[in-house]
């Protein structure tokens, strides 16, 4: 296992070195003929590293702005999805009314509607970006929670009925605990989506955030900063997924074991 990890890290570094060498060569040849070198468009790994060195304070600050918006949007989206899925259980009539619509909306590329949302809530405003993130998280989570609730073990539901349990008890003691693996799965998918959503919202004109930093890097032709920003988003997304995994394992030790047993 550790051998594999070391090997893949090694391959990664080899690729970086190859990238650096090849691009350096191309740039040297280009510079002889023309002053606008390729480096203006694709930075070398060293340039990216240098940008990190110069601008890390900016990157961290803007990233924290973006994360605040994305995090709030994520929380709102997920909480609402769980609430609405629970309401569907209590009042199936509402589910029949709303669910087909939710399913249809889920197949829309919500990112594409970002300009419309920005138009409603104001360009670059905090609310518009939170709203985009929330919307991106909301529909997939709703659909997976709805699936989880509908696939609750029929035998357990019957048992709860025999025990004269009310709907709240069934929700909190049976349906929700059994839906937790589904919830965490959809949260793991939702959190990078929320961050991307916030970034795109910021592209459309924001006063702060990593999306704004990317726009600035783009227009000021700073590929090093651009790549550094993109890489930092990737790192933060991965970290958030890892944090979710850790929380899941802490809260639900049975899930890990159950997986081992089955496969």
């Amino acid at each position: 296992m550790t051998k594999k990890i070391i090997l893949s890290i090694l391959i990664f570094f080899v690729l970086l070195i190859v990238w650096q060498i090849v691009e350096d060569q191309i740039n040297v040849q280009r510079l002889e003929k023309d002053q606008t070198a390729l480096e203006a468009f694709i930075p070398t790994p060293l340039t990216i590293l240098k940008s990190f060195g110069n601008d890390w304070q900016n990157i961290v600050r803007e990233l924290s702005h973006t994360l605040r918006k994305a995090g709030l949007g994520f929380a709102i989206g997920v909480v609402f999805a769980v609430l609405i899925a629970s309401i569907f259980i209590f009042i199936p009539f509402i589910r029949n009314l709303i669910f087909p619509l939710a399913f249809a909306i889920n197949s829309f590329p919500i990112i594409g509607f970002a300009p419309a949302i920005v138009l409603i809530f104001g360009q670059g405003s905090f609310i518009s970006i939170v709203f985009i993130s929330a919307l991106i998280c909301y529909f997939p989570t709703l659909i997976s929670m709805d699936t989880a609730f509908r696939e609750t073990d029929k035998n357990l539901l019957e048992l709860m009925e025999v025990l004269n349990a009310n709907k709240w008890q069934t929700l909190f003691k049976v349906r929700l605990p059994l839906a937790m693996p589904y919830l965490f799965l959809s949260m793991k998918l939702a959190i990078p989506a929320a961050i991307i959503g916030a970034t795109i919202g910021e592209w459309l004109g924001a006063r702060n955030g990593i999306g704004q930093l990317i726009t600035i890097a783009l227009y000021q032709l700073k590929p090093g900063l651009l790549y550094a920003s993109l890489i930092s988003i990737t790192i933060v997304s991965s970290l958030s997924i890892i944090i979710l995994l850790i929380i899941q394992n802490l809260l639900f030790p049975w899930k890990r074991g159950a997986n081992n047993e089955k496969r």
Binding site: D153, N155, L156, E158, L159, M160, E161, V162, L163, N164, A165, Q169, K173, V174, P177, L178, M180, F252, P253, W254, K255, G257, A258, E261
Partner: protein, 253 residues
Amino acid sequence: MEPLITFKNVSRSYYKNKKLLVGIDKINFKVYPRQILSILGPSGCGKTTILRLICSILEPTKGEILYQNKNISYARKKGLIGLVPQEPTLLPNRTVEDNISLPLEIKKIKDKKAVYQLINFVGLKGFEKFYPHQLSGGMKQRVSIARALVYEPEILLMDEPFASLDEIIRENLNLELINIQCRLKQTIVFVTHNIEEAVFISDRIIVMSTRPGKIIGEIQVDLPKERSQEIRSSQDFFQVVKQIRQLLGKNYD
């Protein structure tokens, strides 16, 4: 003896692919207190339907079911019914003790003494803090039985509880069930498709045929109340098994 549960001409039909099918047809039988009654029959004869009717999860289409002389729904409302489903269906996020105390939580009973008594009783001492995925199939089913008994229901309904276990564990659990019943004096309705199992545990057996589900015979098992595994190889035991085989054979073409 006054019967505890009485089925009077009970039929239950249902729709499948828009066709009306008769699940069980004009069923009459009585369940007597503190006895183990087995309902024996091939798959699809409506055994589980009968249990669901007793739980009042289903309503009969015709006929009536009485608990003493009240409607059967009274029994569930008063918490007199315990159910052991076919699969153990434990909550994976709860330990053994928390799974067993689930009914107490629902009924808002604070006293958890019964949980630990039952854990001892079904032989799970030392496993209180284990999660279901750490238990074997037989142990899970013991937890399921303890969970059904924890609020001391008068009637215990068991739906092929040992069907997914291997023969050896099944035979041991059969004996344990009898011992539990001897001490707690529950009235048990036990659904099974295993003839030996039915004969071994029952005071009385109702034999059913399939499509539509009908009662084709009622057999009194006159084996000694104190049972041991040796009974399984006794002449009397074989006699009853043979009797049931003949009964079932007659109804198969």
